[in-house]
C-alpha cells in the first residue's frame, strides 16, 4: 500500500500544472465542506393549520389537608397569540363545578384571576396564580373511597373520578459528592404496595431554575422492597433543597407522560407525536387526580 501511495503522490506531482491546481481546489473544497458540516441549517416556513375547535381543559389535583381547587379553561388555535392580558379569556368562569365524596355533593365557586394568593405552605420564590373554582373545605385523608368531579360547561357534561394515593415513608436520605464537591441527594423508601405497580413524581429544587430535578416514574422494574432515587450533581454547599416525593395514580402518570411527550415531540425529530391521555370523560381533555406528598428539607453542609 505504501508503494501505491507513493505512486499516487508521484502521479499528482508529475501531472501538469493545471491538474495540480485542480487537485488543490478539491482539497480546499473538502476543507470548506468539513467546516460546513456540523452546522445545521434552519429555514423559516409558513405553515397553514386548519381551524380547530376550542375544547375544554380541566385540571384538578386533590391532596389531603389542602382545599378543593379545579381549573377549567379552553384550548386555543396553535398560532393564536392573544394579548397577555387576554389570556383570561381562555378561562371558563360560568361552569357548574361539583365534587362528590361519600355521597355528599359540594359546589365550587369561581375565583377570578389576578388575585395573587401566596402558597398556603410557602416555598421561597414559589407562588401560584388563581383563576379557578374553589371550595374552602379541607380534603379528607381518605384513601379508599373515590372522589367524583362533575362539570357543566359549554353544553357539555364532564365527569371524572379518582382516588387519593396514600403517602410513602422516606427511609433514609443522604448526600453524595462528586470530585468537584457538587452534591446529589439520594432518597430511599419502602415500596408501599409491593403487589401492585406504584407511580411517583419526584421534585427537588433549591429555587433556581437550573437545579430542578424532576422525574415521573413507576416501579415496574423494581425487584427489591426498597426503592431508590438520586438527583443529579446539581447542588453546592449551603443550598437549601426541597425534596418532594408524590405518590400518584396510574392515570396521572399516563397523563403526565403524554403531556411531556407532546412537549418534546415539537423539538425531537425522532419521536412520534401522540395525543393527550386524559381521564376526564365527556369531550374535554385534562386530569382529575389525587396524591399525597412526602417532603424533606435538606441543607447541604458546608
Amino acid at each position: 500500500m505504501y508503494i501505491q501511495l507513493r505512486v499516487f503522490l508521484k502521479e499528482i506531482w508529475n501531472a501538469k500544472r493545471k491538474v495540480r491546481i485542480y487537485c488543490l481546489c478539491i482539497i480546499l473544497c473538502i476543507i470548506g465542506a468539513l467546516i460546513l458540516i456540523g452546522c445545521l441549517r434552519e429555514n423559516e416556513v409558513v405553515v397553514q393549520l386548519p381551524e380547530s375547535q376550542r375544547t375544554l381543559v380541566v385540571e384538578a389535583y386533590l391532596e389531603p389537608d389542602s382545599i378543593y381547587r379545579v381549573s377549567v379553561s379552553r384550548t386555543q388555535p396553535y398560532f393564536e397569540i392573544p394579548n397577555p392580558n387576554d389570556l383570561v379569556k381562555l378561562l371558563v368562569p360560568d361552569a357548574l363545578v361539583t365534587i362528590s365524596h361519600q355521597g355528599k355533593v359540594d359546589t365550587l365557586t369561581y375565583f377570578p384571576p389576578i388575585t395573587f394568593a401566596p402558597d398556603p405552605r410557602p416555598t421561597p420564590g414559589l407562588f401560584y396564580v388563581t383563576g379557578e373554582y374553589r371550595l374552602n373545605k379541607k380534603i379528607p385523608a381518605n384513601f379508599t373511597e373515590p372522589f367524583k368531579l362533575n362539570i357543566r360547561a359549554d353544553g357539555k357534561n364532564i365527569t371524572a373520578q379518582t382516588l387519593i394515593m396514600p403517602p410513602v415513608v422516606i427511609d433514609s436520605l443522604y448526600i453524595l459528592y462528586d470530585n468537584r464537591q457538587r452534591a446529589s441527594i439520594r432518597i430511599i423508601w419502602q415500596d408501599p404496595n409491593p403487589s401492585k405497580l406504584n407511580y411517583y413524581r419526584f421534585i427537588a429544587d433549591n429555587g433556581k431554575a437550573d437545579s430542578l430535578n424532576h422525574f415521573v416514574f413507576s416501579d415496574r422494574l423494581l425487584s427489591s422492597e426498597k426503592q431508590i432515587l438520586s438527583t443529579g450533581y446539581n447542588y453546592k454547599a449551603g443550598d437549601t433543597v426541597y425534596v418532594r416525593l408524590y405518590h400518584i395514580t396510574e392515570e396521572y402518570y399516563n397523563f403526565y407522560r403524554s403531556v411531556s411527550r407532546a412537549i418534546s415531540a415539537n423539538y425531537n425529530p425522532l419521536s412520534e407525536p401522540t395525543s393527550i391521555k386524559s381521564n376526564v370523560q365527556g369531550g374535554a381533555i385534562g386530569i382529575f387526580t389525587g396524591f399525597s406528598q412526602t417532603r424533606k428539607r435538606v441543607i447541604i453542609p458546608r
Partner: protein, 806 residues
C-alpha cells in the same frame, strides 16, 4: 377481500393443481411421468447440457447468465451458484452465453449425448476501447416471468456518488422504483408502502437483523466484499418468505481462485482492505475483508489534549468496524462447499469521573452451504446458518450499576432443490427450519450493597417452518407461467400459527422485444420489529409472534410490461402497476412503555394498511452511457382502530411522487462521470392544531412575576402544551438533490488504482429533515409570535476516496 384468482380461468386452476401433484409424484417416482407430456414438443432423443459459468479472471460464479441453444428458442438461466442445465433434442447447436458486463460467448457443438460445458466469460470492461456491439444480447427481462425485481452489480454501485465517499449498497437500492428512502442520509428503505422491518435482508442467505452502522448513516455491507445485489419488491419466488415487503439478497464475492489479490480504499470516514487468496488454484479460495472508521482516533486525541482542563467534558468515542470472510472449496465436480462469515460492531463509550456509559451493538452471521449435483438435472443446496444480533448498554452512576441488553439468535437449516426436467420446466422445492431465541429486553440495575435492585427479563422462543414448491413452466413460446406454493408455520408459546402462501406469475410475449406480465403473492411475517422511533436505531427490538401478537400478512397483485426498445441499443422500459393489502400491521399504542420492557406485545395495537401505485423504470445497462430513470406514483395508508380515532391516515413515507435519475458516462478509458438526481414528495408529519396551558401541581413551576409595558402584573398561565390531533396530515416541503461523482483511473506499474471524487447535494439545497415551532419572546418573556422552522441536515459535502487493487 376477493382473491385475484377469480380472474383466472377455472380450467387453468385445475391444471395447476394437477401439475403440482404430478411434480411431487414425479420427483419421488422418477422421470417416467414426464415423457407423455413433453412428447408433443420433443420427438427426438433428449440430451442435457450442463455446467458452471464463471468469470475468466477471478473464477467467481456467475448467476443470471442467459444460455440459448440457437437456432431454437430453447434456453436456460444459470442459478445463484453459476450452475445451468438445459435439456434439448440431440442435434447441432450454436450455444450463446450472455450476461451484462461480459462478452457474448458462442460455442458451436454437435450434441448427441449428455454433455458438461463449463464456460468462462470474459469481462467487457477489459476491452472498452474496441467496444463493438456485435449483436443484441439476449435480454432475460422479456423471457422471464419474474417481475418486480432489480439486479445491481457492485461495479455499477461503486461508480455512483456517495455521501462522505462511503459506497453504500442500501443507498443505491433507494434509487430503484417502488423503494422509498427513509430519513435523509439513512440507509433504511420502505418498499411499496411496507415498513422497514418488512424487508428480508440476506447476506449469503443469512438474515442480517440490523444492517446499519452509525444509526443508519451507513449500511454494514463492505462494497469490496460484495458481488452484487438483487431486490424483489413483489412477485416473490416461493423459496423466499418471512417478510412482507421485500427481499434484498446481497451476495458476497467468493474470492479469486486464480491469483492473490488485494483491494482496498482510503476514505474520509473509514478505510477498507480485502484480500483474496487462492488456496488451491481453481479449486478453492479465501476472501477476507475488513473496514474500520477513524472518528474515535480524533476524539481520543482531543480528549487527551484537554484532559488537564478542570471543566472539560470529554467527547464520547465512537467507532465501527466490520469483517467479512468467505471460503469455498470444490470437493469434486459434483460438490462444492462455501463458508461465509460476517461480523459488524459499533460502540460508543463515554466515561466521566462519576458516570460511565458503554453502548455497543453487533451483528454476526455464519453460513455453510453445500452444493451437490445428484445428476445433471438435479441440484441441491443445503445451508446451515447462524445469525445473531445483540446490543448492550452498560451504565455506571456513582455506586449504581445498570445493564440493558437485547438479543436475537437464529439457527437455520435449509434445503433447496432445483430440478431441470426439460427446457420447459424448472422446478424448485425445499424446506427450511429456523429456531429463534429472543431476549427483547434484559435489564438489571443495583446499588453496590444490593439493597435496591431493578430487574426485567424475558426469554422467548419461536420455531419457524416452511416448505415450498414452484415450477417455472414455458407453456408455449409466448406464454410462460411460474406457479408455486409456500406453506409456513410458526410455533409460538402455546400457539401455532400457519399459512399457505400461493405465488403466481404469468408472462405473455407479444413479440421478442415486449412481454406482458402479471403476478400475485401472499406473504406471512412471524417476527416483528418494535421500533420506537422514525429512524432505525440499534435499540430497535425484534419480537416474535405470541398469544397476543399474531403474524402479519400481505397480498399483492401486480401487472406490467417489459419492453426492449428496438431502436436504442440496450434500452429497456419496464412499467408496473401494483396493489398491496397489508393485514395485522403493528404499531406501538400511544404513550407505550418501551424502555426495558420485556412484555412489548402488550404495547402494540393492530391495524391494516394498503398501498397502490405505478412504477416506471427506463434503464440502459450497457454502453458508454448507462443509467436509469425511475418514477413511482403511489399512495399508502394505514388504518388502526386505536390510532387517529380510527380514521385512516397516510403512512409516514407515503410519497405521491418519487423520481430518481441515475446517469453514468464513460468519457475515456480513465475517466468516468456519474450523477444522481432525486426528487420526492415531502414526508407526512403530524403537527399540532391547537394548544392549551397546563398549570400543573402547586410549586412545580418557578413562576417569575413579570410586568407588562404599563407596569401591571401579568398572569403566568402555565406551560404551553401542543395538542396533536390528526396523524400524518401535513407534508414537509419537497425533497430534491443532485449528486455528482468522477472516477479517475491511474496507471500505476502494478495493479490498478483510482481516485473518486463525490459531491453530495451539489446545489446545497436545504432539504427538510424536521419541522418544529419556535416561540419568539420579548424581554418580558412574553410570547410574541410562533414561527415554523425547518431543519436541514446535509449541506454540500464533497469527499474523496482512493481505491486500489493489485
Amino acid at each position: 377481500m376477493k382473491l385475484p384468482f377469480s380472474f383466472l380461468p377455472l380450467k387453468l386452476c385445475n391444471l395447476l393443481i394437477y401439475r403440482c401433484i404430478l411434480i411431487v409424484c414425479g420427483i419421488t417416482l422418477g422421470e417416467a411421468w414426464w415423457l407423455p407430456m413433453s412428447k408433443r414438443i420433443y420427438a427426438q432423443k433428449n440430451v442435457t447440457i450442463s455446467g458452471y459459468i464463471r468469470d475468466s479472471l477471478s473464477g467467481e460464479n456467475l448467476s443470471g447468465v442467459v444460455i440459448q441453444a440457437r437456432p431454437t428458442p430453447l434456453g436456460a438461466i444459470s442459478n445463484n451458484y453459476g450452475y445451468y442445465s438445459l435439456t434439448i433434442p440431440a442435434g447441432n447447436y450454436e450455444l450463446h452465453y450472455s450476461s451484462l458486463g461480459y462478452r457474448l460467448t458462442k460455442i458451436t457443438a454437435t450434441i448427441n449425448k449428455d454433455t458438461v460445458i463449463n464456460v468462462h466469460l470474459v469481462e467487457e470492461a477489459q476491452e472498452l476501447e474496441t467496444i463493438v456491439i456485435e449483436e443484441e444480447k439476449i435480454t432475460d427481462i422479456v423471457n422471464t416471468t419474474q417481475m418486480s425485481v432489480n439486479t445491481l452489480q457492485i461495479e455499477t454501485i461503486k461508480q455512483l456518488p456517495a455521501i462522505f465517499g462511503e459506497v453504500d449498497v442500501l443507498k443505491v437500492v433507494q434509487l430503484l422504483p417502488g423503494i422509498k428512502a427513509g430519513t435523509e442520509g439513512t440507509s433504511g428503505f420502505f418498499v411499496r408502502g411496507g415498513s422497514n422491518d418488512q424487508n428480508l435482508i440476506l447476506l449469503d442467505d443469512a438474515v442480517v437483523y440490523n444492517a446499519a452502522h452509525m444509526g443508519g448513516l451507513f449500511s454494514v455491507f463492505n462494497s469490496d466484499a460484495v458481488k452484487g445485489i438483487k431486490i424483489y419488491r413483489g412477485d416473490f419466488p416461493a423459496n423466499y418468505g418471512g417478510r412482507l415487503s421485500s427481499v434484498l439478497d446481497v451476495q458476497m464475492k467468493e474470492g479469486n481462485n486464480r491469483k492473490l489479490k488485494a483491494t482496498g480504499g482510503i476514505g474520509l470516514i473509514s478505510s477498507r482492505i480485502t484480500l483474496e487468496v487462492p488456496v488451491q488454484k481453481n479449486r478453492s479460495s479465501l476472501l477476507l475483508a475488513g473496514r474500520r472508521t477513524y472518528v474515535d482516533l480524533f476524539t481520543r486525541l482531543i480528549n487527551a489534549a484537554n484532559e488537564s482542563k478542570p471543566n472539560y467534558t470529554p467527547l464520547p468515542n465512537y467507532y465501527f468496524y466490520d469483517l467479512n470472510l468467505k471460503a469455498n472449496y470444490q470437493i469434486s465436480d459434483r460438490d462444492r462447499v462455501y463458508l461465509s462469515g460476517f461480523f459488524s460492531s459499533d460502540a460508543i463509550t463515554l466515561s466521566l469521573n462519576f458516570f460511565s456509559f458503554d453502548f455497543s451493538w453487533q451483528n454476526t452471521t455464519t453460513a455453510i452451504r453445500w452444493n451437490h449435483l445428484f445428476n445433471r438435472k438435479l441440484f441441491l443446496n443445503t445451508t446451515a446458518i447462524f445469525s445473531n444480533y445483540i446490543y448492550s448498554i452498560n451504565n455506571e452512576f456513582a455506586d449504581l450499576k445498570g445493564q440493558l441488553n437485547s438479543k436475537i439468535n437464529d439457527w437455520v437449516l435449509k434445503l433447496d432443490f432445483e430440478y431441470f426436467p426439460s427446457p420447459a420446466h424448472t422446478i424448485r422445492l425445499g424446506a427450511n427450519y429456523i429456531y429463534h431465541t429472543f431476549n427483547p429486553s434484559s435489564f438489571n440495575a443495583q446499588s453496590r450493597d444490593q439493597s435496591v435492585r431493578f430487574e426485567a427479563n424475558r426469554r422467548l422462543y419461536g420455531t419457524e417452518l416452511a416448505t415450498y414448491i414452484a415450477d417455472d413452466w414455458e407453456l408455449s413460446e409466448r406464454f410462460r407461467l411460474n406457479y408455486g406454493l409456500r406453506f409456513s408455520g410458526f410455533v409460538a408459546r402455546e400457539k401455532f400459527y400457519s399459512g399457505a402462501e400461493p405465488r403466481l406469475a404469468l408472462r405473455y410475449k407479444l413479440s421478442d422485444s415486449i412481454a406482458i406480465k402479471a403476478s400475485y403473492a401472499r406473504m406471512y411475517q412471524y417476527i416483528h420489529l418494535a421500533s420506537s422511533s422514525t429512524i432505525s436505531l440499534p435499540t430497535d427490538v425484534w419480537y416474535p409472534s405470541t398469544n397476543r401478537l399474531g403474524p402479519q400478512s400481505s397480498d399483492q397483485i401486480a401487472c406490467g410490461f417489459s419492453w426492449v426498445v428496438p431502436f436504442i441499443s440496450n434500452l429497456v422500459i419496464t412499467n408496473e402497476l401494483y396493489y398491496k393489502w397489508l393485514h395485522n400491521q403493528i404499531e406501538f399504542r400511544e404513550n407505550a412503555i418501551i424502555f426495558a420492557n420485556p412484555r412489548l406485545d402488550e404495547e402494540f395495537v393492530f391495524g391494516k394498511g394498503y398501498s397502490y401505485g405505478n412504477e416506471l423504470l427506463i434503464e440502459k445497462k450497457e454502453g458508454k452511457f448507462t443509467g436509469w430513470l425511475a418514477y413511482t406514483l403511489s399512495w399508502t395508508n394505514r388504518l388502526f382502530t386505536e390510532l387517529n380515532k380510527g380514521r385512516p391516515f397516510p403512512y409516514r413515507y407515503d410519497r405521491r411522487h418519487d423520481l430518481s435519475i441515475v446517469l453514468g458516462y464513460q468519457v475515456s478509458k480513465r475517466l468516468n462521470l456519474s450523477a444522481t438526481f432525486t426528487f420526492r414528495t415531502g414526508e407526512a408529519i403530524t403537527l399540532p392544531k391547537s394548544r392549551f396551558f397546563l398549570r400543573d401541581i402547586q410549586g412545580v413551576r418557578n413562576v417569575v412575576f413579570t410586568r407588562d409595558s404599563t407596569g401591571r402584573f401579568i398572569i403566568d398561565p402555565g406551560v404551553i402544551i401542543p395538542e396533536y390531533q390528526e396523524r400524518n396530515s401535513f407534508r414537509l416541503p419537497v425533497y430534491h438533490r443532485l449528486d455528482l461523482s468522477a472516477t479517475w483511473k491511474f496507471k500505476p506499474k502494478k495493479g490498478e488504482s483510482d481516485i473518486n471524487i463525490s459531491i453530495y447535494n451539489v446545489y446545497n439545497r436545504a432539504n427538510p429533515f424536521f419541522l418544529y415551532f419556535d416561540e419568539d419572546r420579548n424581554a418580558q418573556r412574553i410570547t410574541t409570535s410562533i414561527t415554523g422552522r425547518i431543519i436541514a441536515l446535509f449541506p454540500i459535502i464533497p469527499s474523496i476516496t482512493y481505491n486500489f487493487k493489485f
